[in-house]
Amino acid sequence: MNNSPTASVDQIHTHISSPKQMISIFVTLLGLTALTVMASTWPVGRFDVWIALGIAGIKAILVAAYFMHLRYDTPTNTLLLVFAVGVVVLFLGVTLADAIQLAPEVEAASPAVTLQ
C-alpha cells in the first residue's frame, strides 16, 4: 500500500509483467509440453501418471506464478489456490482408496459381462 501523502485514492499499484518474462515463460511451457509428449513414450510402467502429473504441475505453477501474477500478489490468493487443490486431493484420495477397497467385493458380486 502506498503511504506517501501525495498518493491518490484513485491509483492502483501492482506488478507489471515484462515482455521478456512473459515470452520466456511461454517458451518454457512449450518445452515442457514437448517433454510431456515425449515422456508418454518412455517405458516407465505405472509411473507414467506421476511423471505426467509432475510436468503438468510445473506448467501449472509457472502459469499461476507468472501469468496469473501470484508471485507478486498477496499471499492470501496463493493460499486459496493451494488450499483448493488440497481439498481436491483429499476428495480424490479418500474416494479412490474406498473404491479400491470395495473393488474385490464388487467383482465377486457382479455377473461376468463384457461391457462396451
Partner: protein
C-alpha cells in the same frame, strides 16, 4: 441491569408521544416503487427480499411436513397414496434444505448485518449480491416447478440408480438446485471479500464480532463445497439426458461414487447451516447476559475448526455402502468434529454463569438452541459409532437427530436472530409477552414432535416409509399432534412480527445495549448505513451502556469508547 424494556405507551405509532424523527429517510422508504426494489443494489433491501423468499419457502416446506405427519397417523393410507407420499417427503426435504435452511441466516440476516457490523456502506460486490438473489429465485422456480410437472420422489438426496430411472421431474429439480448452488457460492464469495478488504481500521481479526467469524467460516465452506454439488448434479442430469453412465453399473458406472460426490458437499452443507446459527447464539448469549462472551478466541478457532473438520467426515453418511476401512476412518474422524461444537457450548454456558440474564424473546430462543442443539448433537454420536449405526441407520433416529440440530438448532437461532435484529431492520419493537410465548409453544411442540421419533427409531421404524407396523402407531400419533402444536407456535411467532410492523413501538438505535457496530446507527438505518462514521470498539464490552428509560435506548457513558481507547 436485568431490565426488560417495557414500552411506555401501548398506543399505536402515530400517537406515540415520543416519536423518533429521522433526519434522513431509512433504506425502506428512501426510494419507492417496485422497480426500486427489483433493481436495488442495497444489501439491506436484498436481505429483506431474501427474508421474504425464504420464509415463504419455509411455509411451503412446513405445510408439506404437516401433510407427511398427517399421513403417518395411521399405518395404511390416511390421506394420500404411497407415490404421493414419496413426493411429499422428498419435496419437504429439498425445499427445506435448499430453499430455506442453507440460505436462511447468511442470505437473509447476514446480508443485512455483515456490512453494518463492519461499519461499511455495502458488501464488496453489490451487483453479485443482487445476482445471488435472482439466482435464488430462478433456482426456486425450477425446484418448485418440479411439483407442477411430474413431481419428485427420489428423496432429497437424489440417490442413483433410482434418480436416473424414475419418471419424476428430476432434471427440473436438480437444475433448480444447481442454480441455487451458485446463489450460495456468490454469497460466500461476497462475504469473504468483504471481511478481508472492508473491515474498518482498528477492527483486526480478533476484534471482529463472532457473527462475522461464523459467516466467514460458513463462506469458506460455501465456496469450497458447493461446486462439488454442482458437478454431481450436472453429471446426474447428463446421465438422465444423454446416458453418460458415470453412476450406472449397467454402463460401467458406480452408484457409490455418486454417494461420495453427493455427501462431499452435503456434509459440509450442514455446517453451512449451523455455523452462522452458532454465531448468532454467541451474540445473543453475550447481549442478554450483559457480559463479555467467555472464551472469545476459542469460539473463533472452533468456528474455523468446524469448517475444516467438516470436510473430513462425509463418509459417515455411507457406512452401509462404503468399504469397511473407510467406515472405520470416517467414524473416528466424526468423533473429532464434535469437539469444537462442545467447546462452543461450554463457552456459552460459562458466559451465562453469573451473568445478568434478561429473558427477552431472542434470549429465550438462544437458550432453546443450547438445549436442543446439545441434545441433537449428542445423538449424532450414536450414529457416528459403527456398532450402533448398524441398527439406527435409515431409521427415525436419524430423522430425529437431524431435526434436533437443524430445526432445534439453526431454526431456533434464525428466529432468535430475527427477533434480535428485527428492531434494526424494520424500526419496530414487538410484543415481548407473545414473543416469549411463541418460543415456549415452539419448544414444547418441537420436543413433542421429535422426541418420540428417537423412540420410534430405536424400536426399528424405518425412515421414508409410508406403511408401518401397527405397534408404531402410538408414537406416530403423538409426534403428529406435536407437529401441529409446533405449527401453532410458529404461527404465533409470525403474528408477533407482522403485528409489530403495524403497531410496534418505534425502535431506538440500540434497544439491547450492545456494542457491535450495527447498533450505532438508526433503526432502521439510512441507505448508506451510517450518518456518522461509527466508532470501532471492543464488540463485547457492555459495561459502558446506560439505559435511557423513556426512549428505551442504550447510550454509551462518557468514560470509554473512542478509537484511541480501543487501540490500547
Amino acid at each position: 441491569m436485568s431490565t426488560i424494556i417495557k414500552p411506555k405507551s401501548r398506543l399505536p405509532e402515530f400517537v406515540n408521544p415520543h416519536p423518533v424523527k429521522l433526519q434522513t429517510p431509512s433504506y425502506l422508504t428512501a426510494e419507492r416503487g417496485v422497480w426500486s426494489w427489483v433493481f436495488t443494489l442495497d444489501h439491506k433491501r436484498i436481505g429483506v427480499m431474501y427474508l421474504v423468499g425464504i420464509l415463504t419457502s419455509f411455509l411451503m416446506g412446513g405445510v408439506m411436513a404437516l401433510l407427511v405427519r398427517t399421513e403417518l397417523l395411521t399405518p395404511g393410507r390416511t390421506i394420500m397414496d404411497a407415490d404421493t407420499y414419496n413426493h411429499m417427503f422428498t419435496l419437504h426435504g429439498a425445499i427445506m434444505t435448499f430453499l430455506f435452511i442453507i440460505p436462511s441466516i447468511p442470505a437473509a440476516l447476514g446480508n443485512f448485518v455483515l456490512p453494518l457490523m463492519c461499519g461499511a456502506k455495502d458488501v464488496a460486490f453489490p451487483r453479485m449480491n443482487l445476482a445471488s438473489f435472482y439466482l435464488w429465485v430462478f433456482g426456486a422456480v425450477f425446484l418448485v416447478a418440479a411439483m407442477g410437472l411430474n413431481g419428485l420422489d427420489t428423496g432429497w438426496t437424489f440417490y442413483t440408480p433410482y434418480s436416473t430411472t424414475t419418471n419424476s421431474s428430476v432434471i427440473s429439480a436438480t437444475m433448480g438446485v444447481f442454480i441455487l448452488g451458485f446463489s450460495s457460492i456468490f454469497t460466500g464469495i461476497n462475504f469473504i471479500a468483504t471481511v478481508h478488504t472492508m473491515r474498518p481500521k482498528g477492527m483486526t481479526w480478533f476484534r471482529m464480532p463472532l457473527f462475522l467469524w461464523s459467516l466467514y467460516a460458513t463462506a469458506i465452506i460455501q465456496v469450497l463445497a458447493t461446486p462439488v454439488l454442482g458437478i454431481t448434479l450436472l453429471l446426474l442430469i447428463a446421465e438422465r439426458v444423454a446416458g453418460i453412465g458415470i453412476f450406472d453399473p449397467a454402463l460401467g458406472g458406480d452408484p457409490v461414487l455418486y454417494q461420495h460426490f453427493f455427501w462431499f458437499y452435503s456434509h459440509p452443507a450442514v455446517y453451512i447451516m449451523i455455523l452462522p446459527a452458532m454465531g448468532i447464539i454467541s451474540e445473543l448469549i453475550s447481549a442478554f447476559s450483559r457480559t463479555r462472551i467467555f472464551g472469545y478466541r476459542f469460539l473463533c478457532y472452533s468456528s474455523v475448526a468446524i469448517a475444516l473438520l467438516g470436510f473430513l467426515v462425509w463418509g459417515h453418511h455411507m457406512f452401509t455402502s462404503e468399504s469397511a476401512m473407510a467406515a472405520v476412518i470416517f467414524s473416528a474422524l466424526t468423533f473429532s468434529v464434535s469437539i469444537p461444537s462442545g467447546i462452543k457450548i461450554f463457552n456459552w454456558l460459562a458466559t451465562l454463569y453469573k451473568g445478568s440474564i434478561s429473558l427477552t424473546t431472542p434470549m429465550c430462543f438462544a437458550l432453546s438452541f443450547i438445549v436442543l442443539f446439545a441434545f441433537g448433537g449428542l445423538t449424532g454420536l450414536f450414529l457416528g459409532a459403527l456398532a450402533t449405526d448398524v441398527h439406527l441407520h435409515d431409521t427415525y433416529f436419524v430423522v430425529a437427530h437431524f431435526h434436533y440440530v437443524m430445526m432445534g438448532g439453526t431454526l431456533m437461532a434464525f428466529i432468535g436472530g430475527l427477533f434480535y435484529w428485527w428492531p434494526k431492520m424494520f424500526g419496530r419493537m414487538y410484543n415481548e409477552f407473545w414473543g416469549r410465548t411463541s418460543c415456549l409453544v415452539i419448544f414444547i411442540g418441537f420436543n413433542w414432535t421429535f422426541f418420540p421419533q428417537f423412540l420410534l427409531g430405536t424400536r426399528g421404524m424405518p425412515r421414508r416409509y409410508y406403511n408401518y407396523q401397527p405397534e408404531f402407531q402410538g408414537l406416530h400419533v403423538v409426534s403428529t399432534i406435536g407437529a401441529f402444536v409446533l405449527g401453532v407456535g410458529l404461527m404465533i411467532c409470525a403474528a408477533v412480527l407482522i403485528h409489530s410492523l403495524f403497531r410496534g413501538r418505534k425502535a431506538p438505535p440500540n434497544p439491547w445495549g450492545v456494542a457491535t457496530m450495527e447498533w450505532q446507527t438508526t433503526s432502521p438505518p439510512p441507505v448508506h448505513n451510517f450518518e456518522h462514521t461509527p466508532d470501532v470498539t471492543d464488540p463485547y464490552d457492555l459495561e459502558d451502556f446506560e439505559l435511557i428509560e423513556d426512549t428505551g435506548n442504550y447510550e454509551r457513558g462518557r468514560s470509554k469508547s473512542s478509537v484511541a481507547e480501543a487501540a490500547l
